[in-house]
């Protein structure tokens, strides 16, 4: 008798647990829409709070970050079939600035598709720079407004990273300034990043996704190359350290998640 009860119970549990899976097929997507890329700046797993928080990196240096600006450019979207959509080059330069709350890139008129990867450059490529001051369009002004220019001759700052730090040897809070860029056409620090999206970004007439990126400012000094501020706290034109910082900066981007939907507001 008891055994029968147990058998029935097990049976019912088994039926209960059996899930039904659905494999919904997205109907073919058509039209075009916006795709937003959100640059959510953080440091070492925490949200970046300029001037407010301090943190210690693996170089044993304790930083307070007061400025974190960088240039992103030349966006390319790659779909599931490997097709690349290159965003119009003239419109493809953006400043991300934590202090000025420029943290979103809106790409307009993206053709419908299921995008699996995002490619962009950090900084301004030589081709664009060679177009001269007139060839930069509005972007020159935007870069100047956000402290991203040395001078036209010296070129753009691709990264403007500033604050104060202390270390074992530097006990008083000391200003650091990391300005990385290509220096004229002699030192090219422009580099491209390709990021896989953890979820496809769906674009169509009624689908406008948000790609939410997490950027780790800690990587600037504490990435694949370890840059000690106690050795040099102001790095602008440095044939050794600038390219290293450029490589570090390439490692600071990660796509955290993708919101699909109409995403009128994020």
């Amino acid at each position: 008798m008891n055994f029968n009860y147990i058998k029935s119970l097990v049976l019912i549990l088994a039926i209960s647990i059996t899930a039904c899976s659905s494999d919904d097929d997205n109907n073919s997507l058509s039209g075009e829409n916006k795709l937003r890329v959100e640059f959510d700046n953080g440091v070492n797993g925490d949200d970046l709070l300029l001037g407010a928080a301090t943190y210690t990196n693996t170089n044993g240096e304790t930083l307070t970050i007061n400025r974190f600006n960088y240039i992103v450019s030349n966006f390319v979207l790659i779909d599931a079939e490997g097709n690349e959509f290159t965003y119009p080059k003239d419109d493809s330069y953006f400043v991300i600035s934590e202090e000025n709350e420029l943290t979103e890139v809106v790409l307009e008129n993206i053709p419908a598709g299921k995008y699996v990867a995002l490619k962009f450059g950090v900084g301004v490529d030589q081709e664009k720079y060679q177009q001269g001051a007139e060839g930069q369009g509005n972007f020159l002004q935007i870069a100047e407004d956000n402290e991203m220019m040395w001078s036209w001759q010296a070129g753009y700052k691709f990264l403007n990273f500033e604050g104060t730090f202390t270390s074992e040897t530097v006990t008083e809070p000391t200003v650091f300034q990391i300005h990385m860029g290509s220096h004229g056409s002699s030192l090219d620090n422009y580099r491209e990043v390709t990021l896989q999206l953890p979820t496809q970004a769906l674009v169509s007439d009624n689908l406008s996704p948000v790609v939410h990126m997490a950027i780790d400012a800690n990587q600037v000094l504490d990435g694949q190359h370890k840059i000690k501020l106690s050795e040099k706290a102001v790095i602008m034109i440095d044939e050794v350290k600038s390219p290293q910082i450029s490589e570090n900066v390439n490692g600071m981007f990660r796509v955290d998640h993708v919101h699909n939907g109409d995403n009128i507001q994020h």
Binding site: Y5, S8, L9, I12, L13, I15, S16, I17, T18, A19, C20, S22, D23, D24, D25, N26, D40, G42, G45, D46, D47, L49, A53, P198, T199, Q200, L202, L207, H212, A214, D256, H257, H259, N260, G261, D262, N263, I264, Q265, H266
Partner: protein
């Protein structure tokens, strides 16, 4: 603020009713054990009374799969619990969650309060078939770090289930050989959850709790099973149920949900000596858990939406004649909800039923 006042009013009302019941129960003359309830234990002396009592007090429990009509706010709280066979009544449930507004370790936490007032009933169709209906009304709110708040309220998702009793406890006779030591009860149910609650996709955006909704917007299938065994005044209940959720018309698909629970209870019986109204009090202890599958949006998995939570549960149920009520508190023991971005804090359920 209004919500808080509502909650307080409801609490005061229910406490008043039950407080009164308990006070009256205290003044009763407990003439040995006047009756022994739940048709579980029957001694010869008691059986006369028992025959007069309609045996309405079978162990019954079904998890309310979707207390708030959405992911992790579902409840393994149970539908009523011990004690009430067929009933109509009201249940108030409050649930507190915290969810992280952002993707970083220091991102602010949002306090979320899910409140539900539901009308519920278990209606006998036949001796073995019962119909369960739940009509919830939700009033949820959450406070953001910047001091702003959001409220949603409205009719939730109505659930209708049919239960079939596979194993009925045997009624004891007068003779010792006609009495069984353990009474088993097993019922299985199948039902549907209707998309009567409004689903708003905008509440799913951002990194906050995707379950801040009054409905899933979907037609869902409910499968349920309850088993209980009792010995004398002690009882043990097991429950397991599964909700198969479907994609709603906004292309959002909440993950399937599995609920389970184990409860132990003991019933103390007495009777109002003047009116012969039976009175019982049953403390309940147990654990219950919920396992959530991953949500999908446009057929694509949504990051950090699956999870599980295990609650401890302590409660007390009481009947006074045809009136039955109870209070249950659930506290999380362990949890891993939404990749750590959602934390269940507390659940409280209070019900007041009229036994049919």
């Amino acid at each position: 603020m209004n919500d808080l006042q509502n909650i307080r009013n409801i609490l005061v009302l229910l406490l008043g009713i039950f407080g009164g019941t308990f006070l009256r129960a205290e003044s009763l003359i407990d003439s040995t054990k006047v009756f022994s309830d739940f048709n579980f234990e029957t001694s010869n002396e008691d059986s006369e009374y028992n025959k007069n009592l309609k045996t309405t007090t079978e162990f019954f429990e079904f998890d309310d799969c979707d207390v708030c009509g959405c992911g992790s706010s579902g409840g393994s709280m149970g539908y009523g619990t011990i004690g009430n066979g067929d009933f109509v009544g009201l249940r108030y449930i409050t649930q507190q969650y915290q969810s992280r507004d952002g993707i970083y370790n220091n991102s602010p936490w949002i306090d979320e309060n899910f409140n539900t007032m539901q009308a519920w009933a278990r209606i006998p169709i036949s001796q073995k078939i019962k119909l369960n209906v739940i009509v919830p009304y939700h009033f949820h709110n959450r406070q953001f770090a910047d001091g702003t708040s959001q409220k949603i309220n409205g009719l939730g998702d109505i659930s209708i289930l049919g239960f079939y009793r596979l194993i009925s406890p045997k009624l004891d006779g007068f003779l010792p050989e006609q009495q069984t030591k353990f009474k088993h009860n097993l019922e299985v149910g199948v039902g549907v959850k209707l998309p009567t609650g409004e689903y708003d996709r905008a509440n799913n955006e951002g990194s906050v709790n995707p379950s801040f909704q009054v409905g899933t917007g979907s037609w869902d299938v409910l499968l349920a099973s309850n088993y209980s065994v009792s010995h004398k005044n002690w009882g043990l209940g097991l429950l397991a149920n599964y909700t198969i959720k479907t994609e709603n018309d906004q292309k959002y698909h909440f993950g399937n949900q599995f609920n389970y629970g184990v409860n132990v209870f003991r019933t103390f019986n007495t009777m109002n000596a003047k009116t012969f109204t039976p009175v019982s009090i049953s403390p309940v202890l147990g654990v219950s858990g919920e396992v959530f599958g991953e949500n999908e949006s446009y057929g694509l998995a949504v990051k950090d939406t699956k999870g599980n939570v295990l609650f401890s549960r302590i409660g007390v149920e009481s009947t006074y004649g045809k009136i039955a009520g109870g209070v249950n508190v659930m506290l999380p023991v362990s949890q891993d909800l939404n990749g750590g971005a959602v934390e269940a804090k507390f659940r409280l359920g209070i019900h007041l039923n009229f036994v049919l």
